[in-house]
Subunit: 337 residues, 4 copies
Amino acid sequence: MLVVMESNATDQMVAKVCLVVESMGLVAHPIAGAQRTVVGVTGNKSKIDADKIFAQPGVRDVIHVTPPFRLVSRDYRAEDTVVDVGGVIFGGKECVIIAGPCAVESRDQAMTIAEQVVAAGAKIFRGGAFKPRTSPYSFQGLGEKGLEILDEVRDKFKLLIATEALDTESLDTVASHADIIQIGARNMQNFSLLKKAGRLNKPIILKRGMSATLEEFLMAAEYILAEGNPDVILCERGVRISADHTRNTLDLSAIPYVKRTSHLPIIADPSHGTGRKDHVIPLSRASIAVGADGLLVEVHHDPSNALSDGAQAITPEMFRQLMSQVKAIASVLGRSC
Amino acid sequence: MLVVMESNATDQMVAKVCLVVESMGLVAHPIAGAQRTVVGVTGNKSKIDADKIFAQPGVRDVIHVTPPFRLVSRDYRAEDTVVDVGGVIFGGKECVIIAGPCAVESRDQAMTIAEQVVAAGAKIFRGGAFKPRTSPYSFQGLGEKGLEILDEVRDKFKLLIATEALDTESLDTVASHADIIQIGARNMQNFSLLKKAGRLNKPIILKRGMSATLEEFLMAAEYILAEGNPDVILCERGVRISADHTRNTLDLSAIPYVKRTSHLPIIADPSHGTGRKDHVIPLSRASIAVGADGLLVEVHHDPSNALSDGAQAITPEMFRQLMSQVKAIASVLGRSC
Amino acid sequence: MLVVMESNATDQMVAKVCLVVESMGLVAHPIAGAQRTVVGVTGNKSKIDADKIFAQPGVRDVIHVTPPFRLVSRDYRAEDTVVDVGGVIFGGKECVIIAGPCAVESRDQAMTIAEQVVAAGAKIFRGGAFKPRTSPYSFQGLGEKGLEILDEVRDKFKLLIATEALDTESLDTVASHADIIQIGARNMQNFSLLKKAGRLNKPIILKRGMSATLEEFLMAAEYILAEGNPDVILCERGVRISADHTRNTLDLSAIPYVKRTSHLPIIADPSHGTGRKDHVIPLSRASIAVGADGLLVEVHHDPSNALSDGAQAITPEMFRQLMSQVKAIASVLGRSC
Amino acid sequence: MLVVMESNATDQMVAKVCLVVESMGLVAHPIAGAQRTVVGVTGNKSKIDADKIFAQPGVRDVIHVTPPFRLVSRDYRAEDTVVDVGGVIFGGKECVIIAGPCAVESRDQAMTIAEQVVAAGAKIFRGGAFKPRTSPYSFQGLGEKGLEILDEVRDKFKLLIATEALDTESLDTVASHADIIQIGARNMQNFSLLKKAGRLNKPIILKRGMSATLEEFLMAAEYILAEGNPDVILCERGVRISADHTRNTLDLSAIPYVKRTSHLPIIADPSHGTGRKDHVIPLSRASIAVGADGLLVEVHHDPSNALSDGAQAITPEMFRQLMSQVKAIASVLGRSC
């Protein structure tokens, strides 16, 4: 850490900062520059909670050199984490494709879509039973009935099931039906939910918040690992920018950044990441090309009758094209789908 | 609502859209333009869930004319809502100042600060017992012990208490101690929490999410009103932009916009809204000048020893200056503090 | 166009809007809804300058249905524009790779890098002679001497030359040396420069502004086409978001959006688009995978001694890897590099 | 400056960085921490061009402690700069109100508006003769004829004239008619224009770019001062965020930040800063309350017939209200209007 003093800070102020640093069990290295003094701080193993130092008189800025990550950091664990979900491996050579509708709407709808996506090569079926919706008047999901339908999908098609948990109250119920639990962008900093998910023995897909920095994203994962659950799969799903040609902007640079900074696997969601069905295939290709460990894709056999997010769902036929193209891209990188 | 067709959409596609619109109990008005056809939709009382229409072949875009708000809308209720919290009125002539530390750290700390802010004219004391923190390793608040300290503050200084509820599990506990419950920016779209808060009989301060549009912000309030709780006080607390001179950017245009669109009171939080103590007083003046119904300000008697957010807490002395300046500004607008 | 009236707008206000619309030679279609009246406007061939309508009493909003583009629009020209630069074709089956240093620093530096990039397969050499720099004290480029060095590179290696024009004053000079003229992100709305570039008989690479919408970006290209120069190659080079893990965020969704909306070719700049050399190769793969017509890449044989942007320049060896990977990706899409 | 090494950087890499630092005439202070080494750099008088250091092997990040500003910095000049424009003082006790139409449309229009704004207390008249427009088909201003009309306004009403220069070619012409030259947001980093403006003997209003950081904004001013013109008035005019309730978001925190970091005066433009006439008065109050040295406001006597920006122009009657309110706010701060 580096403490930057004001250009008019007195020697006493610098001395006080050094004292505070040392009272925290750390070592202070004051360096007097031409314009101002800076105080280097060593001895910390992780990012320091610097509010106390920042609040000292004469301090202009506090700059963190050590990132705040512990367990999620590649410094902590050099080799890639692989998350094994019933034999399907995230973070290895394979790019794992998760596909299915935004929401489970009915037994028939789920079965119809599942049949098509499994035929096209998806290994995991997604479908929301509990849906976060901007409006209280929109369809909120089938709830537990949706989870039961997902169980039937698993049984019939030997597909693994990924579905979202919205709150701490329903987390255990969701966990008892899902093979992978999704935590959505709006809940990325729902710390109570993260902590409880960290006490489960189930893999978690954690989605990046809509304006989250990657430091915040990785710290949200840290909450889960800190409680004892190492099986976190990160998911880039687009951020907000001022342009409006897509609902969100898929930030593909997040993927090489995370790969370098953390050992956790990371996938991409080109459906939410663009919000437009005509962008899903090109951005799926790009996600695999940039190095994502998989995709989370919304597929609906009848998007014009979907109860939610019909505008971004691709048809089973488009999904088959997607699979064929991403397989070819993956093989360029020495990977499979 | 307006459905914009592609320039190459066929007559059948337009007819199909009209059919879908009418199947929803609405009226379709196709208008053929020089480049493309648009279909006006009337008959709706609120924003339509348009995914189904958007997903029809030949549809380029769906434009909402009617905003999605119902209960929070000024169209629904023309006069200002006033929220009465034990005799302190939000949304009336008075600008209500809420002040106190970021977190309750100890009985002594809370009492010391409360004594100073009450003397300076604050009517409501703020202090977090449950704290949302980016890092799992940061101070997470005193929990119930913090709530008990807040009870003592109320008793001793006749101050009302505002404190944050982080999750559905602790909401009832918080409600049993607080006069006003804060829902933080990270929880603005924690719909489970909003619904449960909507079933309480306590005023709620709802903070805008870090990258939320005002439509999303008002729809989050709609969740609370829809469950039966009309006492919502909105709070602008800064949004994220690409510049980095402040932690967040206080978007003061939100205040006249909300005043025009909704009947709910709205206050500003210049502490989180800037993240820098040297900006709190000028932005407090600006917030009152723009028309805010009050302020939420972090005050600490010893910021350099604060356990959280010391960089943005002002001292009691600065708070006295703030009060004197905002009183003068308020009086220009015919209001008091 | 659609004119949305306030819910309390009077019949006279609606009538006045219709009158104004008709005075502009257009047709007004008032539609009375449950909450408000909207007025559909037809008869326009392009986006209308709506300020006059917006300023009428009782008007809440004006919504443009027809995009403002004319000459750049795919509605105007259905087939792809191909820009032929001395036999190198942008917008056809080939993905064109442009490579070279950020700035021409010396004859030796330019020759060394040119030799390597031509050997690796680049068809066009980039190198700035006039450099836009945030600080007036940073290296501003070699100016005309730099252009002469670029002429030598062309002669020796049979490479085409792309270089930036910073202002109207030097545009003719740059044009007399360059095969392609770059207009940078900071100049995307330098309308005087765009107009003058539109009167040249040279292809232009137009870079997207740092926070430009795609509508603004295409309208900037419209300025060039409107003056008579059809040879515009668009370039996505990253936008600003609130996250800070990269200098800019490459918005790859711009590429399918532009392909659908316009007939112009579009390339990507993964060097400025990320600002980090370790991200250039993965984002180059992603750019080609998403459908870009080419890449603009910064290469330096000795990045640690580069006079500008050393942090984002890749070495010739990394460039060879890049070429081999993007060729493989391009072939998946039926394209070559 | 601080050079942060990778956690696996070798001793040789650290030594090489120290060597490079010292070859630049600076002093290197390596500090070995628990996780990584950092190298403090002293001896620099201003921000170092760090690309060369950043590009060394083993360097993870370079952190600037000294800001890059020289002449614009408060470290360079402690007292406030006052810009005297024919007796009207920016940066002193008075808040200067500049008002007038977006564009000069005709002699009559300019005279009508000037008469009203001078009566209401404006000291400086604004009106564009050369207009930057997103579309090449929009009204581009009256050009030199507009400048002549402005001369008549000056003569008749004893108002000073502020008008925009769009490019280097017309700068001298504009300078020969204007008392203050505006450089617009889109030209904030048109470095050729800034340099030429720096060689004039006229005050410059420099507007912040739409997504510019304050460091970039102040560095743009530095270009003008570095060429010899000290009379720069900064202008906050709103930035882009992802929310859409206003055209731009006025970032009022820029004002205290600039006041603390620089000695230059700064005003606010609530017209462009919101893009909505109903927001201009409240945001004008807020701008003065936060500490702005003046306002730039668009006024039109007949906004519904304005040729540009009618949606954000206020009427002369609204301008009178604005003046009366901002005078009252200014007096709270011990200032006048």
